[in-house]
Symmetry: C2
Subunit: 328 residues, 2 copies
């Protein structure tokens, strides 16, 4: 599967079309803020809550756009993808909005709650080994057997355009920003973000927050060429993908700057968001706040937009400890 080769880069018009296409299905997510986090950051932070998006992540935008971009004949044969989590769940739910079949190839080791969501939304799950080649091969096999349309998690113009709708919506909600920070894994969100931001707010700096243990995008930008061989190690399960070829080109051409963050900082930021904002975000989302807190001096006094990408965590990893204290 080499979808990067023949897929065109979407332009802002594609994002506007995507926004129309998904409007009946996707949530307009709220923007939240916190006085106490602003004080800690020394800046004014506006959080776009895509953890409150359908299926719990921004991924629904791209998946929904892809599903509703299909012709009726294509749609009748269903869709297929490979995903460890949010994209698979998002595609499953998007397929359901059109009443079509969805196949998701899931590698071993994927987060349990995300796999459960894929099943709950009615998709067929196909297990495979946890390598990129095993995933691509398994998806290709399903595609040949069913005639389903392949919807790549990020290296796909329909996906990029769909993800770009989050920034279009965000800017409409909050107006002018000094900086916009989103996480980067495969690069679907950040490439869509860069295209939308450059059209709507040409001077706006776009940053991508990347785990230090999965900083292939940073390394690719430094070397000028996309690194396609890298073993990620990070708690951010949504950011372990290597940046896609088309995504890398868009990120490079729009001069997106990558900020790397250690997992410990991400976990601290995640706890801070849970505690102060009372919303559940996954590590891959909290990384954007960690990036601001790590570069406090640089962002001081700015009005910053941050996209909280998702909220799908395994609560079983967070055992609730009942404490029957005294008192009323």
């Amino acid at each position: 599967m080499t979808p990067e080769v023949d897929i065109n880069r979407p332009d802002f018009a594609a994002i506007e079309k995507a926004a129309d296409r998904i409007a009946a299905h996707a949530h307009v997510t709220p923007v939240m803020r916190s006085d106490s986090i602003d004080t800690l950051a020394g800046a004014s932070l506006l959080f776009k809550c895509e953890n409150l998006q359908r299926a719990g992540a921004f991924k629904f935008r791209g998946a929904c756009n892809a599903v509703w971009s299909l012709s009726d004949a294509e749609a009748a044969r269903g869709v297929v993808t490979h995903s460890s989590g949010n994209h698979g769940a998002a595609l499953a739910m998007a397929a359901r909005t059109r009443g079509i079949e969805c196949h998701v190839v899931v590698p071993k080791g994927a987060v349990r709650s995300k796999v459960e969501a894929i099943t709950n939304y009615g998709a067929s799950v196909h297990r495979c080994e946890a390598t990129i080649s095993a995933r691509e091969q398994a998806a290709e096999t399903v595609r040949q057997q069913t005639g389903a349309s392949l919807v790549h998690p990020y290296a796909d113009a329909r996906i990029i355009a769909g993800q770009g709708t989050a920034t279009r919506e965000f800017i409409a909600e909050v107006g002018a920003l000094d900086a916009l920070i989103v996480p980067v894994g495969g690069g679907g969100l950040v490439s869509g973000t860069a295209i939308a931001a450059s059209a709507l707010a040409p001077g706006l700096s776009v940053f991508a927050a990347e785990p230090a243990g999965a900083a292939d995008t940073k390394a690719s930008l430094l070397s000028g060429e996309r690194i396609a061989d890298f073993a990620p190690e990070t708690i951010c399960d949504g950011l372990r993908a290597l940046v896609g070829a088309v995504n890398f080109e868009i990120i490079r051409d729009h001069r997106v700057e990558v900020l790397t963050v250690d997992d410990e900082e991400t976990v601290s930021a995640m706890r801070l968001i849970w505690q102060r904002m009372k919303i559940i975000v996954e590590p891959s989302a909290a990384i954007v706040l960690a990036a601001v807190l790590r570069h406090r001096e640089r962002f001081a006094g700015m009005r910053i937009g941050l996209i909280l990408s998702g909220g799908n965590v395994d609560l079983d990893d967070l055992p609730w400890v009942p404490h029957f204290g005294v008192d009323a």
Copy 2:
């Protein structure tokens, strides 16, 4: 301290005045819903997110109303209360909005994060033993020493009127409901809710969800007299207070029905809200969903309003277990 004796019951006009008084300080909290929880419940549930209120709980409404009800002379001497948590934090933050001193008597065993919040919001914390009499005595001592105005957590017309603003706002947001369910501890929220609901939606049934291990309100209604001697045992740290005298009268006169819930059901409901709605609620808030799920047949097909009272939990009791799984 026997505030129940000389404090009048507020009417709906007092709630409207409270709404005006707190408008500049309190958040208008969002209403959220979840398809998957509706499916589980077999009903249409609308959640008023007071966990997203300032200081993380509806308590800010009443505290803010009380603080801004004081004359300038009274305000100059500050406020004092006793509270194991949310009311103390709320009063501390409310006092800060008026720039006045706040003293909070905190019994041993209070939830750590709630005590931290009280301190962070700038109030003076006074520790005492975890009995009602020790709390009242300590608050009275502070009152005599400082001249501060006592703001009881629930048996106070200003508090009841302030809490009633949540329902006024809720009904304005969602329109007609078949039922409205709120938690009951001391009864500040439910008494304000009953007054607001009876004025705005006379036919609307108001229910109070109460932990089975702290069901003094249920027992009081059954016996016709307020039970003032009861040892609560429940995970719902915000619902361990005995119902106040004035609160009990209002609850009884408005024919509020109490639904008791076991802690296990409340914890399950809490996890469900975290997982499906991606928001943090404390057990004392999740109990309202547990009440619906326990009485599924009774609420089947209804359009039900639920007030999620707060989101202040100790995340230290939920150790994050990093899991460095494979995959992208």
